[in-house]
């Protein structure tokens, strides 16, 4: 079996001392930011990117990946114990998790989340390993026209599945694409929209955008509310083990959650957040067994299923990134940036040109998941202590790490001025009710899209019909069109809004 050879190679890479350490650091940091409300994985990964310059690429990616899936574990702790989403994808976990904690069953809730996540993470990793190779084969058949259409599909998919106004999200993508074009045009050498500022000829740094918009913008928003009193269930976590009855309810829920998460993770725009929402909705639709606690009052299935889903979703969302080089969500867009920093062009060639990186990363995810169970269940006490740290100590530290991270990308204060601008822009976005994630996706894909559009059009001698006459490209575009039509159908539209309001 080729798969096993590959996995063996991967584990060989992942089990080196250095990579184990970085996987551990990643998981630890991920849990940390997952536990702390108000700090998301996007801002953290952006903050830590500069710190990975000095690392070998495998170690850097292993650590960054660990932050992403680690955050899914940590987020559930906060959701269950404090009734705050430590991480956006834990919003639905709060509903039943917190109720369980109030009834003194915080332990089983945490265990359900942790064990469900571990199972889902393992399955997600296996799917990633199994699907990566065949998908890569397909990707090699792609020409520029197909790539362009694929990116269109990816971007459309990202907004269709996201929450909020569709047209505003599309506009944010276009805005992101435009911002991605700032800087020197590779074909003609013309510096576009750089206003004769030398730093801008290299383009806007995506780290400055990510940190300004996701880091500063959100801190400012958080500070505009009064600091609330949080009720933390610190002393009440005892007896982690769920009962046999709990297991009976949990197991099917975990299986369902894992399946939903794995599927939604692969789709563009999917990933952890959507997976958790969908899993909870489905769990609520299933019939309650006699004697089971209703949903919203501390049903263990309401914790196990979405937590499994967000974890498998975060694993499988690596599939489009690693095989096609197309990031399906904002965190993956940052991973593209991380790979580019280390001179790796994301795409199907990664698997053949850097097999040790590719399989090492996948293997490390399994190891990371195992570490996370240990970090999150026996060591839960440490994280609970962390929750008592007040926000007024946290946010200056976050601002500081953003500033240090931004400066150290180029050792240039210009980036600090830029991040200030994007901080204001980010707050403006929040005030205007527009989602910043599509902007980041567009920003990363902008130059790639232009390049492929140009090449496709050059090959077709200026004939736009090339996008619909090539069968692969045509079907990708058709899929994008179908997606758009479906969400604009009135019946689906109201359902979609309902699904995201339901909390």
């Amino acid at each position: 079996m080729e798969l096993f050879d590959n996995l063996a190679l991967g584990f060989g890479v992942a089990f080196t001392f250095q990579n184990l350490i970085y996987a551990f650091i990643g998981c630890l940091l991920g849990t940390l930011i997952g536990v702390l409300p108000g700090v998301g994985p996007v801002a953290t990964i952006a903050m830590l990117l500069p710190a990975t310059y000095a690392l070998p690429p495998v170690a850097a990616l292993i650590m960054l990946a660990g932050i992403y899936y680690g955050a899914q574990y940590g987020g559930s702790t906060t959701a269950i114990l404090v009734n705050l989403p430590g991480e956006a994808s834990s919003v639905v976990t709060m509903i039943d998790g917190y109720q369980m904690a109030r009834k003194g069953r915080a332990g089983p809730a945490l265990a359900a989340a942790g064990l469900g996540s571990f199972f889902a993470g393992c399955v997600g990793t296996l799917i990633l390993a199994a699907f990566a190779a065949p998908l890569t084969e397909v990707a090699f058949k792609f020409g520029p026209a197909e790539y362009f259409s694929l990116m269109v599909l990816g971007l459309i998919g990202a907004v269709v599945l996201a929450s909020g106004s569709l047209i505003k999200a599309v506009a944010m993508i276009v805005l992101g694409l435009l911002m991605g074009l700032v800087g020197t045009d590779v074909n003609s050498g013309v510096a576009r929209f750089s206003f004769d500022i030398p730093e801008l000829t290299d383009g806007i740094g995506f780290i400055t955008i990510a940190m300004g918009v996701f880091g500063y913008g959100e801190i400012i928003q958080n500070l505009s509310h009064k600091e609330e009193d949080r009720e933390v269930f610190t002393g009440k976590v005892q007896g982690l083990m769920p009962t046999a009855q709990d297991f009976k309810y949990m197991v099917p829920a975990v299986l369902r959650g894992t399946t939903i998460g794995s599927i939604l993770g692969i789709l563009p725009g999917g990933g952890a957040l959507l997976a958790a929402f969908a899993a909870y909705t489905i769990e609520k639709k299933t019939k309650l067994k006699p004697g089971e606690v209703p949903f919203g009052q501390g049903n263990i299935r309401g914790v196990a299923s979405p937590e499994s889903a967000n974890n498998s979703g975060s694993q499988t969302s690596f599939i489009p990134l690693l095989t096609l080089g197309i990031p399906p969500n904002a965190v993956m867009a940052l991973m593209v940036g991380a790979m580019t920093i280390h001179n790796i062009q994301p795409g199907p060639q990664v698997m053949t040109s850097n097999p040790e990186l590719f399989w090492g990363l996948i293997a490390s995810m399994w190891i990371g998941n195992a570490m996370l169970v240990i970090l999150n269940l026996p060591l839960i006490g440490i994280w609970i202590k962390l929750l008592t740290v007040p926000y007024r100590w946290l946010f200056p530290a976050i601002v500081l790490f953003c500033a240090i991270g931004v400066y150290s990308t180029n050792n240039n204060t210009f980036d600090i001025w830029m991040v200030a601008i994007f901080g204001v822009v980010g707050y403006l976005f929040i005030k205007l009710g527009v989602e910043p994630a599509p902007l980041l996706l567009g920003f990363i894909l902008g130059p790639m899209m232009e390049e492929n559009l140009r090449r496709a059009m050059l090959l077709s001698r200026g004939d736009w019909s090339v996008f619909v006459t090539r069968p692969l490209s045509a079907s990708l575009l058709a899929a994008a069109a179908v997606l758009l039509v479906i969400v604009m159908l009135p019946a689906v539209k109201s359902k979609r809004e309902e699904a995201f309001v339901e909390e």
Binding site: L178, S188, F193, L400, V424, L432
Partner: protein
């Protein structure tokens, strides 16, 4: 005409203005033809699309009724100004400000400046607490970024470190 959704109206306005600006800027570069696109082609196309999308959003904001008018609400000026100021001050401390003759003061001074100014944005401000936080952050940053990660930072003011 009444604005029925403030958030949508002004975000539409933003998209329209930015799109138009990009489109206008793109005409300054060679646009080329479909078969041989110049540097201005794609930005011009996207700028026009963005401006159109923005206008649709604005139009909808004037026509489609919303329950509460989707008010933008109050701006949180205090955190906005203070957080951004803290960030800028950090930049000044690291890079210096030649126009007023301020030399680079280094990382540690920057951390203190940033922490103090940023903390002012919170609900309560306790100078002693903030100073302790600054010391902890300074030590932590020095250990993590300078010793461990070996990032290139001026740590102390240039007139001391030389």
């Amino acid at each position: 005409m009444l604005i029925k959704s403030q958030k949508d109206f002004f975000s539409g306005l933003m998209f329209t203005v930015v799109g138009a600006a990009f489109a206008y800027g793109a005409t300054g570069y060679s646009v080329g033809t479909g078969g041989r696109m110049g540097p201005g082609y794609f930005p011009l196309l996207l700028g026009v699309i963005l401006a159109i999308l923005g206008s649709i959003i604005m139009f909808k904001a004037l026509v489609v009724h919303t329950a509460d008018g989707d008010k933008i609400g109050k701006w949180a000026w205090k955190p906005l100004v203070l957080i951004i100021a803290a960030n800028l001050l950090f930049g000044v401390m690291i890079g210096g400000l030649p126009s007023i003759g301020l030399p680079p003061m280094g990382l540690i001074a920057g951390i203190f400046a940033l922490t103090i100014v940023a903390s002012l944005a919170g609900d309560s401000f306790n100078l002693k607490e903030v100073l302790i936080l600054s010391v902890i952050l300074s030590m932590g940053s020095y250990a993590a970024f300078i010793l461990l990660l070996k990032l290139q930072f001026p740590v102390w003011p240039t007139f001391i470190a030389g």
